[in-house]
């Protein structure tokens, strides 16, 4: 019963330098009130789950649904940026999710804090949020 996020993909020049070792330059967003705020998360925490779907101009891309996905958190002005983790990037890159116009739906169910502690996201109820 995790957090379901639907967000456009955004292209940055580069992720913030302190997470550049783990994150690539593509990110999705969700308002902090759905993720980092209630769970008191910090920049650099790893958010994981699975891809529900990725679509472009209304058409779903095949081969991505159900794939595991991880993101690196960075919060800016009340909005959580979820940078695609380098371990997830090859899958998205090889499906051409490298430019604007793609919408990604992900089911996020756990966080690994920078301290190493693991936290389950919304284990009792599914929450839906838009980025």
């Amino acid at each position: 019963m995790p957090l379901l996020v639907s967000s456009p993909i955004y292209i940055s020049n580069a992720p913030p330098s302190s997470i550049a070792g783990e994150a690539c330059y593509v990110f999705i967003t969700v308002r902090s009130r759905w993720l980092s705020r209630p769970y008191e998360l910090s920049d650099g925490d790893i958010i994981s789950g699975e891809i529900v779907e990725v679509h472009y101009k209304g058409e779903e891309l095949e081969g991505l649904s159900g794939a595991p996905a991880s993101f690196v958190l960075w919060t800016v002005a009340g909005r959580d940026h979820l940078y695609v983790h380098k371990s997830t990037w090859p899958l998205l890159r090889d499906h051409g999710v490298i430019y604007e116009g793609h919408i990604m739906v992900v089911r996020l169910d756990r966080v690994i804090r920078t301290s190493g502690q693991e936290v389950q996201l919304y284990p009792e109820r599914e929450i839906k949020a838009e980025g």
């Binding site: 955004y10 292209i11 940055s12 967003t29 800016v76 002005a77 604007e100």
Partner: protein
């Protein structure tokens, strides 16, 4: 002034929503202009949270950031503000900068200006 400061913070978030919409469409010129609007609202919010009301003109906003960068000994803040000004100029004269330059400036303004000033404004408002 804290109510007014909160109002300006909400305005900042509205401009940021528009920034993200434009960025998602790859409309970098437009995204840069929304970012400039967010920067202005945020600077007014921060000034109000510190008990200072800035005139709605460019000069006093610029002076405030220059003073703040000096006070915090954070030259990167001033550099990021200069990038915000460049994004504003680019909106009225598109094509001045290459796409990669625009993306780098947008990143610098988001992470080097919006993020620290928003945290500072929230911190000042919590103090009351």
């Amino acid at each position: 002034m804290s109510e007014e400061a909160l109002g300006k913070l909400r305005t900042t978030e509205e401009h940021m929503d528009n920034f993200y919409k434009a960025l998602a469409e790859g409309e970098l010129d437009k995204a840069g202009e929304f970012l400039w609007a967010a920067v202005n609202a945020l600077i007014h919010a921060l000034a109000l949270a510190r008990g200072e009301r800035l005139p709605a003109k460019h000069g006093p906003v610029r002076d405030f950031v220059r003073r703040l960068a000096g006070e915090l000994e954070d030259k990167a803040l001033w550099d990021a503000f200069r990038d915000a000004e460049r994004l504003h100029a680019n909106f009225y004269s598109p094509g001045i900068f290459e796409e990669e330059e625009l993306r780098a400036m947008i990143d610098n303004v988001v992470y080097g200006l919006i993020e620290p000033l928003y945290e500072l404004a929230e911190s000042e408002l919590r103090k009351g």
